[in-house]
């Protein structure tokens, strides 16, 4: 099964490309200091606002910092925070979704009402409120996003679980003497995992954009942090004189988001069973197709 999923995945060029870019980004994020040509925080006013050159491949910003180096280091803040947010909402949302879906009843009700509360907060207002109380920072932004976005995850998982619960093979598992735990782990979880993985991958892309947007308006990372959103904000004043300062971070964000979207779609297609082989086998009963 895994082999055929992997095979199907690698047949799609966009998916493979997305995977390569995503892995590349992660690699860059881990080894940022080694990869970057300059220190991303080194200020040198004499070098400010330079055009791209051999020494500064993407030019410098208004404080003379190498833009490429800042972008590279920005991978850490933007991409990794997105991954952290996604992993945490996964760890909260999936168990809650499974419990709500499988157990049902009052437990389901309680969890879903909590999810309702979390979903109805408009993100910007909540972000502003938190910032007003606790001060603007990337960490606070991460917490806000975790609070807001565990709920749709839980809801999706709950829906899947409720559908799977009605399948004959779950009934057969009960008849075979499975404990409830075993049913969840061996039957329900594997059949929800593909949706979870796809959803999480697509979510990473969305979180990257959100973090960049909020940092852009000053509610997230603060200067002088090397963050793509902050860089966009820096570039605003120079939009007419040095437009490249805006273009580079914008392009990077777009590329990373596209990559993760392509990856998510590729995973989705790979994990959806195709009917082609199945149809022939069913028609003829042939085992060795």
């Amino acid at each position: 099964m895994l082999k055929s999923i992997i095979r199907k995945f690698f047949q799609k060029r966009s998916a493979v490309l997305g995977l390569i870019v995503a892995l590349l980004m992660v690699f860059i994020g881990i080894f940022a200091e080694q990869v970057a040509p300059h220190d991303a925080y080194a200020v040198d006013i004499s070098q400010k606002l330079l055009d791209p050159s051999a020494e500064y491949p993407l030019g410098t910003d208004q404080l003379g910092r190498c833009i490429l180096s800042r972008l590279i280091l920005g991978t850490r803040t933007s991409l990794f925070s997105a991954i952290i947010v996604t992993v945490i909402i996964l760890l909260i949302g999936v168990p809650l979704g499974i419990i709500a879906g499988y157990v049902g009843g009052i437990t389901d009700n309680i969890i879903m009402r909590m999810a309702d509360v979390a979903s109805t907060f408009p993100s910007s207002l909540l972000a502003l409120a938190i910032v007003g109380i606790f001060g603007p920072s990337l960490r606070n932004l991460i917490l806000v996003f975790i609070f807001l976005w565990w709920a749709p995850f839980a809801r999706m998982v709950r829906g899947q679980v409720m559908k799977i619960k009605e399948m004959e093979y779950v009934l057969a598992a009960v008849a075979a003497g499975d404990s409830r735990f075993r049913i969840i782990v061996r039957h329900i979880l594997p059949n929800t995992i593909s949706s979870i993985i796809v959803y999480a991958t697509l979510r990473i892309a969305a979180v990257i954009v959100h973090i960049a947007s909020f940092s852009f308006i000053g509610l997230g990372s603060q200067p002088p942090t090397a963050d793509w959103g902050v860089m966009l904000n820096d570039g605003r004043q120079f939009i007419t004189s040095h437009p490249l300062m805006l273009v580079w971070p914008g392009v990077v964000i777009a590329v990373v988001v596209l990559a993760f979207n392509a990856l998510g779609e590729g995973l989705n297609d790979a994990m959806t069973p195709t009917s082609e082989e199945g149809a022939v086998v069913k028609e003829t009963g042939a085992v060795n197709v």
């Binding site: 082609e276 082989e277 028609e283 003829t284 009963g285 042939a286 197709v289």
Partner: protein
Amino acid sequence: MCNEEPVLAVKDLKTYFYCKDRVVKAVNGVSIDVHKGRITAIIGGSGSGKSVMSLSILNLIDKPGRIVDGQVLLHGRDIRKLSDKELRRIRGRQIAMIFQEPTCALNPVVKVKKHMYEAVHIHDKSARMNDLMDGFRKTLLRVGLSEPDRVLESYPFELSGGMCQRVMVAMGLVTNAEVLIADEPTSSLDLTTQAAILEELVRLKETGMAVILITHDLGVVAQTADDMYVIKDGIIVERGTVREVFANPKNEYTKFLMEPILIHN
């Protein structure tokens, strides 16, 4: 069998499926004759190729399958040679089909009454929905749907599998095609409904329609069909009128099918 010219004649049909490492010869040289006003049954086990053959008649085979050889003669004209557009004019109008999987064959967002209307409209463009509703109600009752008005206003996804199957049969009944291909029309239905539907098919043949009935049930063949073909592994192993074949089965497989299931003492 009948001495008249057949309405539909399949000659030496071959449909193969091209898989990664081998070729599955689902239909491997099948020839059948279908006559007006008679029910021709095709009986075989699963994997025998009977469904593939019926889909091949209307060229409904998709990759990795392909019709490799053979002719499908409608009134002597080989419809395999027709363009897509011309073939589409034949489908539903001259040759109608009832599929095996009713829930897949009906568009879930189109109401039943519209489905039935389409089945008539494709043949008779002047037909108006309101005039036909009464007839639809009667037909739905005849196929065993006890609340025809409710069914007509429903969407297929609101109906059970058995009900969808009956709607499909009803669509087959209101169509005025010359040839009706019914692929396992009663397989998931109860005995009482099956009896009612088969009676309807008999009534249809009496109006002159040629019916191809694909089934795995010998009882259905014995009580409903006039001519029969036994298919196994993609080839016809026996043919004849139903009475001839039952009285004197020649092929081993046919004899096997006719043995009763005797397990008790």
